[in-house]
């Protein structure tokens, strides 16, 4: 590729052609401030914060959208640039609810940092801010238009990454607003609550519904026995919330921190991930051997389930009837666990920590209740909310000792650990299904072709002498490709894994802010490192899962399993 030579702030730089001025400056350690720009998303250049001055050019130019040219002389911080940039931010602030200390994004807000870095001590413009209604009529996502700066990142993610097109820019000029289609509140007719919008929002305009108060309340209630489960993807990302390097594996310290927070028992969702593999693997074997509906599709991801119910109601019988690991845990926590621990199920308060905002919605689905009165999972927290509680408690996370998870949902396998990464559920399922069907050990446990950030991945497995094709998709726009094939009857696969979020749960809508593909890859690498380091790497070898079947469930797909661990889906399109 050709190199282009130019000058940025008196520094001679040489970068590949087609590099933007923004990227060129960054490569030479000069960061141009941005607001609407987000790595991996489309360039919008609508905030104009990244404007720079180019010699010989009359107006200012946005650095994010302008490619470098040979001999260009760029000044990123001339008085004219600084004045323009400051004015832009002051104008944004004059139409913004600037009560920063009581904002959910306080100290994590990109607008706040920008204002500070630009040295905006006072705003020259009077406030024209008018309060509008907040949309919080769903269990997962809060949209606060009072904080929206119309950068368009959420609309971009919703349209182009997820292909769901729930959010749109409506209106024009001063009346421009980001809103859901028809200006309606977000609801389960059209939104999957994946939370990718919240994940990229630079301010506090879209966030998860904060449920930390409910958990604090339960933790201080002497009558409640409060237990918590932690999803596989949280242990490789929570570190970022407590100043650890990206991808740091914090499992042991995380358990200790939750003990300090006051949870009576700290359990591992990895346990029910293993259980999911046993149930789902057996369901697949049954479908393959009995001529059942194929391809079978995974059911762990609540965003995907909503998407299918809303847009592909005709292929719902392809989806495994297995509940997600979160809900399998919930069902056991309100049945098997109280029985074993000698507790009244009514006193058991179940909290989940998930990388996901859609899990908050899943937990509130009416079918997710063993006693048909109260939900199996009482509260779902995101990784970010757990980080918040750790900070509220004043825990010095770095110096914590490591504690193992509690029994009986504490022993897990590498197969469960990789549930958090795209392709992980498929790989875990193959490890088990291969051995159960072929009755011999799998030679290599690593299915590298199913790993990584490519949109759709495929593999072939020998099951009972015939080669079976499987596929993995992440993001809903990629899911659409596989769903259309299933709908048209042209799908060449026997088993399909679908995860809503880019990268799988490690890139979930409830994960620490600043998730980019680079960050996703680091979390994925840690996930597979964790898998490789474990003694047990196949779900069917988990001794606690084996014991659970022996003591309680009896057999996979049995009567009790069916009652507790399986569910059904409903058509939301034609309701």
């Amino acid at each position: 590729m050709n190199m282009v030579n130019l000058t940025i702030n008196n520094v001679k730089v040489s970068v590949k052609e087609d590099t933007s001025i923004l990227q060129a400056a960054k490569q030479y350690s000069m960061n141009i401030p941005t607001l609407c720009y987000y790595e991996d998303l489309n360039i919008k250049s609508d905030c104009r914060v990244c404007v720079v001055e180019i010699d010989g050019k009359k107006g200012l130019t946005s650095a994010c959208s302008t490619p470098v040219r040979e001999g260009m002389v760029v000044n990123t911080n001339s008085p004219r640039v600084l004045n323009a940039r400051k004015t832009i931010v002051e104008l944004i602030l004059s139409n913004h609810d600037t009560n920063c200390t009581t904002c959910v994004k306080n100290m994590k807000c990109e607008l706040q940092s920008l204002a500070r870095n630009l040295g905006i001590d006072e705003n020259r413009f009077p406030s024209v801010f008018e309060k509008c209604d907040i949309d919080d009529n769903n269990p997962a996502i809060v949209r606060n238009p009072n904080l929206c700066i119309k950068c368009g990142r959420c609309v971009d993610v919703c349209n182009n990454v997820q292909g769901t097109s729930v959010l749109a820019i409506l209106g024009r000029g001063h009346e421009t607003r980001v809103s859901a289609v028809f200006d309606e509140d977000l609801n389960d007719d059209f939104c999957t609550f994946c939370g990718q919008c919240a994940s990229v929002c630079p301010v506090g305009a879209i966030t998860e519904k904060d449920d930390t108060d409910l958990v604090w309340h339960a933790l201080t209630d002497p009558k409640k026995h409060v237990i918590v489960q932690v999803a596989p993807a949280v242990r490789v990302s929570l570190g970022e919330e407590v100043n650890q390097a990206i991808g740091t594996i914090v499992t042991g310290k995380m358990v200790t921190a939750m003990k300090i927070l006051g949870f009576d028992q700290v359990f591992d969702t990895d346990f029910t991930a293993d259980l999911t593999i046993i149930e789902e693997g057996n369901e697949l074997i049954q479908r393959v051997t009995n001529g059942g509906i194929l391809p079978m599709m995974t059911s762990c991801c609540p965003g995907w389930i909503s998407y299918a119910e809303q847009r592909y109601p005709d292929i719902l019988d392809h989806i495994s009837s297995c509940k997600s690991p979160q809900q399998m845990f919930g069902a056991l926590a309100k049945s098997y666990y109280p029985q074993k621990a000698g507790l009244d199920p009514k006193d058991v308060f179940v909290v989940s920590v998930m990388p996901c905002t859609a899990k908050k919605y899943e937990a509130k689905r009416e079918e997710m209740s063993v006693d048909e009165n109260s939900p199996d999972i009482d509260v779902v927290l995101t990784t970010r909310e757990l980080g918040k509680m750790i900070k509220q408690m004043g825990i010095n996370f770095e110096n914590l000792k490591e504690t193992p998870f509690d029994s009986p949902f504490g022993i897990t396998t590498g197969a469960a650990a990789i549930f958090g990464a795209t392709g992980g559920v498929m790989e875990a399922a193959i490890r088990t299904v291969y051995e159960v069907v072929n009755k011999k050990p799998l030679e290599s446990l690593d299915f590298k072709e199913l790993r990584g950030l490519e949109g759709i991945k495929e593999a072939e497995v020998n099951l009972g002498g015939s080669m079976v094709k499987v596929a993995v998709a992440h993001t809903l726009s990629m899911a659409k490709v596989l769903c259309d094939q299933v709908r048209e009857g042209t799908s060449p696969y026997a088993f399909i894994e679908i995860m809503t979020c880019p990268g799988g749960c490690i890139g979930g809508g409830g994960q620490p802010y600043g998730t980019t593909n680079k960050v996703r890859q680091e979390r994925i690498d840690s996930t597979y490192r964790l898998d490789a380091s474990m003694t047990l790497r196949k779900s069917h070898e988990n001794p606690e899962v084996i014991a659970l079947y022996k003591d309680f469930l009896k057999e996979p797909l049995g009567e009790l399993s069916h009652h507790l661990l399986h569910t059904h889906y409903s058509d939301r399109k034609n309701k």
């Binding site: 097109s165 959010l167 409506l170 209106g171 024009r172 289609v181 028809f182 200006d183």
Partner: protein, 151 residues
Amino acid sequence: MLKELLEKYEKKEDLLLEILLECQVVKSDHFISKDDIKEIADYLSIPESKVCSVLSFYTFFSDKPRGKYIIQVCKDIPCYISSDVNVLNIIEKELGIRVNETTSNKQFTLEYTSCLGCCEAGPVMRINDKIYTHLTADKIKAILSEYRVYM
């Protein structure tokens, strides 16, 4: 009714504006409803949110029922600074409605619009397809009484 209208058009996203324009003219209340949006989006295989975005961008379109005559007063700066009178206020008083409202006999709807492209002749307003320039209080009253005659 919309079905017949749609079938005249190729299923091309580029034709969205034409479809919206015709749909609005043909419909009795001169607006595009939620069901229309769904039907158009479905026909063109584009997201409903895309239709909403386009619809809400142009002041020519409305998603609420409107009267027979749609009066749109320019609210951009050139008209504002060339006005000796408050065009909107005069019409509001004359018709007894506020902006974004329709008279009870469904004859007039009063709206704001962004620039109509006649800045040199401001203040301006549009009634359906016709643009009126150099507005004064008397001129506005005369124009309105003309439309009342047709009622």
